[in-house]
């Protein structure tokens, strides 16, 4: 049975929990990824920060309450709030309860987790330490290239 370690992307890009949000956004746009694992000094995965976590934090508080924000005038409120959070550390916005998979998990089990929980990035770990990531597209690519079902 194929293990996840043979399918994962061996990308170890990650941030620590005191990295400023500004840096995270830079890494995300440079690497073109939608989320980053947050690790401690020993590479243990302690959280996850995604584009949508950051986007949510950039919105002014009342925005989520408005049923229809179309009447709002300009970009000011958005950029004001974005500037406010730029220097704050990742730990204020990251998700702490993250899903991870051990590297010798089966593909089926990982696929289940990825699709059922609508995850866009799933960190792969060896005894809690980051060894790679799994994304829906990497899993789909692998499935399409699967030689056994030709």
């Amino acid at each position: 049975m194929l293990k996840i370690k043979e399918v994962m992307i061996p990308d170890l890009t990650s941030v620590s929990d005191d990295t400023p949000i500004k840096e995270v956004v830079k890494i995300m746009s440079r690497q073109r990824i939608v989320g980053l694992p947050v690790v401690d000094n020993e590479q243990n995965v302690i959280g996850m920060i995604t584009e949508s976590d950051i986007a949510k934090a950039c919105l002014p508080g009342y925005y989520k309450e408005l049923q229809n924000p179309s009447f709002l005038p300009d970009f000011d409120q958005f950029s004001l709030q974005a500037k406010k959070i730029a220097h704050l550390p990742v730990k204020e916005f990251m998700t702490r309860e993250v899903f991870t998979v051990e590297e010798d998990t089966s593909r089926t089990e990982a696929a289940n987790l990825l699709f059922r929980k609508h995850l866009r990035i799933l960190p792969v770990v060896r005894e809690g330490k980051l060894v790679g990531i799994l994304t829906p597209s990497s899993l789909c690519k692998n499935a399409m290239e699967d030689k056994r079902n030709k």
Partner: protein
């Protein structure tokens, strides 16, 4: 055990648990109703007969209509348009927002009004860099006051209207003018309470509010046009419903059907937005009260009240007003009103009173009591929760300090109004 004691226990337990809000109120009301049947105080037939389907139909019809009209963005449009009239004056802003909330709440339910108005207020306040608390509290108070004005504004009125055969116009003629006075006075009182916040200068930042484009709030102009025509037609029929020999529920359900017809919206979606939980809460309570009535408790309570007030209409009216106001500051005003209806009917049967002033007293007390504490009305909790999500915590005490005096003053003014208009 004696059936009367069982009934009393179920009744009190229902009231207490509903007001504690630890367990869902609908589950409590349905459990109470079920217990009355299981203890054979009522049989199923009697229980079903106890449900006032005029009230249920009116509520359902209004819920359907509001759920369609709120999609048009009309209410946001009105709120922004009216806010702009303030022209950089913070008191005017408070006054206009609070008054429009009161007026909208007289046709919408209070919670919907708060959900629509409060976020717009937050957006305005954030742009002006002022605290939203005085404005939002004033809107919460206004929603409870405004709801008192019409038959459809607040659930106690729907219950009273149905029980006492009072029409839409009866409420407009007897309560609306007085409620309008309360609505106008309210911002002045709030300003007294929040002197510091209300003395801020917002002229410089005002241009940001001017940039809000209310026209963009209208998402679907065609739907708006159609629903407005249907809505006004319904309101027109409401004005004459007694003369036409139509019950209020018929009018509301006809309006809802008409709106569904012209809007082309899938009824399956709209019906999902009907608050079924609230409707079943009402049904449960109607059954609970029927059980209490059957064992004679209501009659007993009514005769005690008559003994106390000595068959004096003035005393009875004022007693109902004050007891309702204070009680409904702490207990749910729907369960209170449903319990009081048969009591007042009994008082009417045992005396030669013209009951109308007593019904108005019940309506004013039950609706205005909603301002007493933040647990008293659903709109209060919804408003306070939105503030909490913005990191602004309003405690029970914070709310009580301004809400309870507002409740007392409005009940005091109601006493004067009822006395001068009906009892002199």
């Amino acid at each position: 055990m004696n059936q009367t004691i069982i009934a009393l226990i179920i009744f009190i337990a229902t009231l207490v648990f509903v007001s504690m809000e630890k367990i869902n109120r609908t589950v409590i009301a349905l459990s109470g109703a079920l217990l009355f049947i299981l203890f054979k105080i009522l049989n199923q037939h009697e229980a079903f007969l106890a449900i006032d389907f005029n009230t249920i139909g009116l509520l359902t019809g209004m819920m359907v209509m509001v759920s369609i009209i709120k999609k048009t963005g009309l209410f946001q449009y009105l709120a922004i348009k009216i806010s702009k009239l303030a022209r950089g004056n913070i008191f005017y802003l408070l006054f206009f927002l609070s008054t429009i909330t009161g007026i909208l709440s007289s046709i919408l339910d209070n919670v919907t009004t708060i959900i629509l108005i409060v976020p717009i207020t937050l957006a305005i306040c954030e742009n002006l860099e002022i605290s939203p608390i005085p404005l939002i509290l004033s809107e919460i108070f206004a929603s409870n006051i405004g709801g008192t004005a019409t038959l459809i504004g607040d659930p106690p009125n729907i219950i009273i209207g149905s029980a006492a055969h009072l029409s839409f116009m009866d409420f407009i003629l007897n309560l609306a003018p007085f409620v309008l006075v309360l609505l106008i006075l309210l911002p002045f009182f709030v300003r007294l309470f929040y002197k510091k916040e209300m003395s801020q200068n917002i002229e410089e930042a005002w241009e940001k509010v001017e940039k809000f484009d209310e026209k963009k709030a209208i998402e679907d102009p065609r739907l708006l046009k159609k629903s407005l025509i249907a809505f006004f037609l319904t309101m027109l029929v409401f004005v004459f419903h007694h003369n036409l020999g139509l019950e209020a529920a018929t009018v509301a359900l006809a309006g809802a059907t008409l709106l569904l017809l012209v809007s082309n919206i899938d009824p399956a979606d709209t019906l999902l937005e009907v608050e079924w939980s609230t409707l079943f809460f009402f049904m449960g309570l109607f059954i609970v009260i029927a059980g209490v009535e059957k064992v004679g408790l209501i009659q007993w309570l009514s005769s005690k009240i008559i003994n106390l007030t000595g068959e004096n209409l003035t005393l009875t009216t004022l007693a109902v007003l004050w007891v309702s106001g204070i009680s409904c500051s702490f207990i749910n005003n729907i369960s209170y009103t449903i319990s009081m209806v048969p009591v007042i009917h009994n008082i009417g049967a045992a005396t030669s009173f013209n009951l109308n002033p007593v019904w108005w007293a019940l309506s004013l007390g039950a609706c205005l009591g909603g301002n007493g504490t933040f647990i008293a009305a659903a709109a209060n909790l919804v408003g306070v929760n939105i503030l909490k999500r913005q990191g602004r915590i309003i405690t029970f005490k914070d709310f009580f300090r301004i809400g309870f005096p507002i409740m007392l003053i409005s009940i005091l003014l109601s006493s004067v109004y009822l006395f001068l208009r009906y009892l002199l």
